[in-house]
């Protein structure tokens, strides 16, 4: 299949899943009734479609694209297929930022404080990883650095929540670690979208540089790629995307690992081609996972990250096994 054909198929999959996400929900609104209500906005079904299901589906697309795209970009930059926002602590850093913004009351005073703080947390986490493991991109160093950053950010998040006078601290910790799109509103969509778009523009522009980097830093630099600039693009682009995604949906893992890995098989390994394809693939995977949370156990508030981890962790193990055999 050609590159273009794959992109078209992925776009169709995203569109189909978006529609399914709009039409599937706990209350038995029929598909036609639901679509009509979406356009007219009348009555209780209109409210459900416009204020509950539409933001949820839109966030599914945005958050999924953010995770897929930033995963592909980080992998290209670190030349390592294990680099993933959830595994290397970017999402955990973003969650810490978001929790601090909420618990200090900054968020209540100023709505943009939430994405800004999450962005800052994600940015610090990415910068730390690049500093610790960036030059060589060796899998072991990367994963160990990721564990350290994740553990630190996770512990700090738990600490902030434990110190906060909230009886829901335990539930909050689960949300920030596992993510969910339940009961998000248009406010969240409006909050996240500008950051997601800006981050996507930055990351999609890194394609040629990441391609050249396949031949190593020296060769890339000799081909006119500014590594310093590329590094900044990766840090800012992924901080914007992962930060905004985590601020509204919590930390959802493994999307950025599974999607580029699958696409590499059908699309080839060229980083510049993987970027847009992974954004679409990530959106499709997240929408599918979010639909599954509603279909499998509608009453139980299944967390999104639980499903992506159940799919993603075996992939991760298989990849580690394969790498172990190759070296």
């Amino acid at each position: 299949m050609s590159y273009r054909a794959i992109l078209i198929w992925l776009s169709l999959a995203v569109a189909g899943l978006f529609l399914a996400s709009l039409l599937i929900g706990p209350s038995g609104i029929g598909p036609m009734e639901g679509l009509r209500a979406l356009f007219t906005g009348e009555g209780a079904p209109g409210l459900v479609m416009r204020e509950l299901r539409l933001p949820r589906a839109l966030l599914g697309v945005g958050v999924g694209a953010a995770l897929g795209l930033s995963g592909a970009a980080m992998q290209g930059f670190l030349r390592n297929p294990l680099a993933e926002p959830g595994l290397i602590g970017t999402s955990a850093g973003a969650a810490l930022g978001a929790v601090i913004a909420i618990q200090t009351g900054l968020y209540a005073a100023f709505a943009l404080a939430l994405p800004f703080a999450a962005l800052a947390g994600a940015g610090v986490a990415v910068a730390l990883i690049l500093a610790l493991a960036g030059r060589e991109g060796r899998a072991l160093v990367l994963i160990l650095a990721g564990i350290a950053v994740s553990a630190l950010a996770g512990a700090a998040t738990a600490l902030v929540l434990n110190l906060a006078p909230s009886p829901y601290a335990a539930a909050e910790i689960v949300f920030w670690l596992m993510g969910s799109l339940a009961d998000r509103s248009m406010t969240h969509v409006v909050l996240a979208t500008p950051f997601l778009i800006l981050g996507a523009v930055i990351l999609l522009a890194t394609g040629p540089g990441l391609d050249a980097l396949s031949l190593g830093e020296d060769a890339a630099a000799s081909m006119g790629v500014s590594l310093k600039r590329l590094r900044l693009q990766i840090v800012f682009g992924s901080a914007l995307m992962v930060g905004a995604a985590t601020a509204v949906a919590g930390a959802v893992g493994f999307v950025g690992l599974v999607v580029p890995h699958l696409l590499r098989h059908s699309l080839g390994a060229r980083p510049s081609r993987l970027l847009p394809a992974s954004a679409l693939g990530g959106a499709a995977m997240l929408l599918a996972a979010d639909i599954a949370t509603r279909v499998i156990a509608p009453e139980r508030d299944l967390k999104l990250g639980v499903l992506t981890a159940i799919v993603g962790a075996p992939f991760f193990l298989a990849m580690i096994r394969k790498m172990g055999r190759e070296t």
């Binding site: 396949s214 020296d218 060769a219 630099a221 000799s222 590499r264 390994a269």
Partner: protein, 248 residues
Amino acid sequence: MLQLENLTALRGQCPVVDTVSASIGPGELIGLIGPNGAGKTTLMRAALGLIAHQGDSSLARLDPMARARAAAWLPQAREIAWGLSVAELVALGRLPHGRDHGAQGAEAVAAALARMGLENYRARIATQLSGGEQARVLIARALAQQSPLILADEPIAGLDPAAQIETMEVFRAHADAGGAVLCSLHDLGLAARHCTRVWVMDRGRLVADGPPATVLSRALLADVFHIRAHFEDTAQGAVFQALSTLQR
């Protein structure tokens, strides 16, 4: 094509490349020789402007894109991070020419593949090839860059004899077509046979610069390499054979 004036590169306080002045013109294939740690790699990286340096290099002065069109660089580490196809990998050499998807770019890639005998490898995955084949693919990438000057760091290390000779011949042809190549190597025999000129480095300094026959003298071989060798200009070209080491 390349002018170096008092080029110096430091590691800490210690000069790894020490006030090197030299130049390369069209048609030259220059063998950069010297013992391990003499500063060959550092000299080339400093000349390209990839590391901090003092003094002047005509290449390092260019902005990165213009420099990439003027000189291609083949690092010693033959790094291929992803399972790219051979054709994709070679096409990476077109990057400095901007969004050049047109006929010219495709032509350059095809020519580079043909030059390295890789026409039948186009769809093969580069990481699954043998070391020698990977080296050829990476050289093809540098050729596809179509820069007049090529700097190559030990491009023939680890290749079989036929591949070594073929590589030197590819470089020679590039020089004969009006380009130039600066290529570091340890095989003095190949340097003597194929290079139009050799630069000898020792402890960061450029200690000799000239045709192989005059540079590879008994005294220099003893001083710099601590070896004794046989050198003869035969009907089949220069023959150089290291014979024994000397007491240091």
